[in-house]
Symmetry: D2
Subunit: 136 residues, 4 copies
């Protein structure tokens, strides 16, 4: 899948006060939750949401997280998480993320998360077809 | 101000996975953040947002929180926080909240938060006029 | 049970940076987690921890939280949660809390949490005997 | 500095219920806070805690986080964060982490965090001598 064709889900929300820290900025850990909300919304937009995925007997476990912090965001800002699939194999997915200022498009954070599909008793398994279809 | 005339701000969002706990439901502490986001949005809708309030030299410190948990909410649901001013004095505000299922209107949590207006060096002070006007 | 005889569990820890907010103080929502850790440790100290309680088929669901914020705590401080049982009935418990500066004993927050014992399929049920014994 | 000589700070605590998620395990974002608490304790043990560092006019901003999730941890477990300095330059530090089961020593998560020393108005600056001394 070329970069031009990939589907990018955009999720927009305000920074919550609870997500800031004593430096006066968004705590670096809060972006992990923003990324999670970004990939949740990716699945929702593509018609096969994560709650249904779980009810079908799967979990998408997180095996790796990588984030780069370029600029600090602050309370009161509106952020947009741009999320897309960077790589997908039969049993795993890599999501990539950019977190930007919704208004100025300034880039705050980039990230990736790697996931493996497991059954509820913990065995690695193939992603369901509804999710496999996102490759195309 | 009678109940009929009061301004009610509604804030709608999806439950985030990070906000759930091992009981499979939204953690009771997450609603404290939802209430905060509800009153933040109240101020935003009424034209005098909290970020500006802080930059003007004030903090709205929390002096008391009271929440009742009626039913558990779950990941995947869309929640609406209904927030209004229950009481306002020259230096203090009481906000009240209902947190409902956006679609079914089922009530999950009710709450109140009490606040005192302070300066950045910690002295109790009068609320600015822009906020005082919300009484009417 | 008179106040003199009641068992008080003390739990001590440092404020974590992630628990602060842009006001430079501990976010009011963080104390909800401190209270939870206080009652978790209460059960642990009394020999019947919450993880075992859950594995036995119970949940202790939260039905009400009440907190009063007297003074703000800051990053770097060591806090002690003092937790005791304020009231216990056959199917419910009220825990009470004081959160103090471990070194100076200054009082930051007081709180109460009300709980009902339920089965994993959500029916209200009697507390197990190991927990009932804490009344005495 | 050879691996044999490096100082490793160990920080031990119980998993909090609020840190779990609906998969019944510790939420992957919670480990970011555990790592932060690990490096906070590193500084404390080496005699120059982060609160003093901030009061001296510095912030240690986070520029990059990398975590690998090997096994899920659960509520009720006691975890130990092992934290050491992987690399230090005049203006930056890389901390590395292992998060293990305190009792069985089983490894749950490994991680790294990269940091740059800045002044309170955001300019990159040299680490203070008290922290520079940790190289040796």
């Amino acid at each position: 899948m070329s970069q031009e064709d990939r589907y990018v889900a955009e999720t927009t929300f305000y920074v919550r006060y609870a997500e800031t820290d004593a430096m006066g900025i968004v705590h670096h850990g809060s972006y992990i939750t923003y990324m999670e909300e970004g990939r949740t919304n990716y699945a929702r937009q593509r018609g096969s949401d994560y709650a249904s995925f779980e009810r079908s007997g799967f979990y998408l476990t997180v095996t790796e997280i990588h984030t780069r912090y370029l600029k600090p965001a602050r309370y009161g800002l509106r952020l947009t998480v741009r999320c897309w699939i960077e790589d997908m194999k039969s049993r795993s997915i890599v999501f990539a993320y950019e977190i930007i200022d919704t208004d100025t498009k300034e880039l705050f954070v980039t990230g990736q998360s790697k996931h493996v599909c497991i059954t509820h008793d913990g065995h690695v398994t193939r992603l369901p077809e509804s999710w496999r279809a996102w490759r195309n």
